[in-house]
Symmetry: C2
Subunit: 290 residues, 2 copies
Amino acid sequence: MGGFLVTGSASGMGEQVANRLRADGHEVIGVDVADGADVVADLATREGRSAAILAIRERSGGVLDGAVMAAGVGAIRGRERLTVEVNVLGATALLEALRPQLAAADKAKVVVFGSNSTTSTPFVPRRVVSLLERGETERAARWIGRLGALSAPVAYAASKLAVSRWVRRAAVTREWAGAGIRMNLIAPGPVLTPLLRAQLASGSGRHVRSYPVPALEYGTPERLADWVMTMLSPAADFMVGSVVTVDGGTEALLRPTAWPARLPVRGVPRMLRLLREAPRRGQVADYSDI
Amino acid sequence: MGGFLVTGSASGMGEQVANRLRADGHEVIGVDVADGADVVADLATREGRSAAILAIRERSGGVLDGAVMAAGVGAIRGRERLTVEVNVLGATALLEALRPQLAAADKAKVVVFGSNSTTSTPFVPRRVVSLLERGETERAARWIGRLGALSAPVAYAASKLAVSRWVRRAAVTREWAGAGIRMNLIAPGPVLTPLLRAQLASGSGRHVRSYPVPALEYGTPERLADWVMTMLSPAADFMVGSVVTVDGGTEALLRPTAWPARLPVRGVPRMLRLLREAPRRGQVADYSDI
């Protein structure tokens, strides 16, 4: 019984995490579009996601100790719809359907892959992010389709922004944190995967090389997996809705003062309301014995 | 030779980290205002900081494998100057002076304590944060002194905002990341220390209890130390200028959409300039062999 769901388990960071979990003696339910995965499914379609959910439920025996949503599609011109389907619904639709299995475990941990490109990609329309956060991928893809040369990077950044917001909003609720589930995001920068190696060797390699990375080296799947493993461990018992950025410093270089940010005066009424409502909503720690 | 500097080593999270490092066989130079520390020094004064720097340099033998800046003062009415001195200069002045010792190690790791209160404390004046980031603690304290009942929480939040900005701006430079140092922030929420236990048992305990914590439990020094230890390990080789928030979900509940945030259109020119300048500034990864 129990075990860990890992999507995108056939390559890159998903594969690395799946291997580590298995090496530590855990059951892993690997989901990938590639042959050979425990569950072969295409997370880009509703049918593929539904089939995946059924297969995962059956294999889990009703309990999931954790989930790592690593399946993702990069910025590819002409594949914008695929990108938003996999990056948003490939995570959120599965998590919503599998929440009972996660709640059945003792402090299940969920790690969703965001990206540091969320904060540095220009000209991402607010409207596209909102549509994607609500799962309206078809309408969002139509908007994105009108953006010409920007469509591929915008599809990628908007999909990662939407899934990040979904995670942060859901993670703190009674249904998730209140049910013992700790759900967080990892936001990688450039990681030396076969994809990045191919980009560096390609005609646009010069452009890729000029991307700022203050650490002066790229990440590796091994180092990123270190963080995912910590986020799946009891260390994350007190981590909810956080974004762990592991990007060699690109975000801090490009947006140093954007976060952490002071609470603007216009945000004070909402803050006071949330503070007032927290006890009634059951969102406070219970230490009545102290 | 080598070893780890830990400030605030006599209690709370600093003590926990110092103990873990020693248990793992590392040399620790503990700094605290309390008797019994390896270096007894008051980081609230210029003289105390200078004495600490000299003593740390001597004990380090010229090399520091890492530094954990855990010394801090909470929100105490009437102690606003003390708060900003320790929380800002107690970290930044020591780090600036000890940068050569950190650069002398192989990928030294620095962890500075921020706080999740940076993003939820109302009415923090922008000017106070700017003054503190430049180390102008006296002028900042005069401003804070005029804020009446808000002075203590503002002193605390402004000091943590200032030190967070200082870390993010410095971490990505050639002097820090470029010299192999990985400097990051940890932003805790409420942690079950003797201080929090006393607050819960006090007359204002009801108020403390109503603070929203979606995880429905407080953090522990042990769990926070787990994250600091990961941030001191090779896992952090690709982490620069990041803020690791470990707060039970309070930040995600109170500011869900504030971060990660889209790049606003007004930020595009600066972004394009930074992207253009990165290669010339030596802020790109060097993989010319691929």
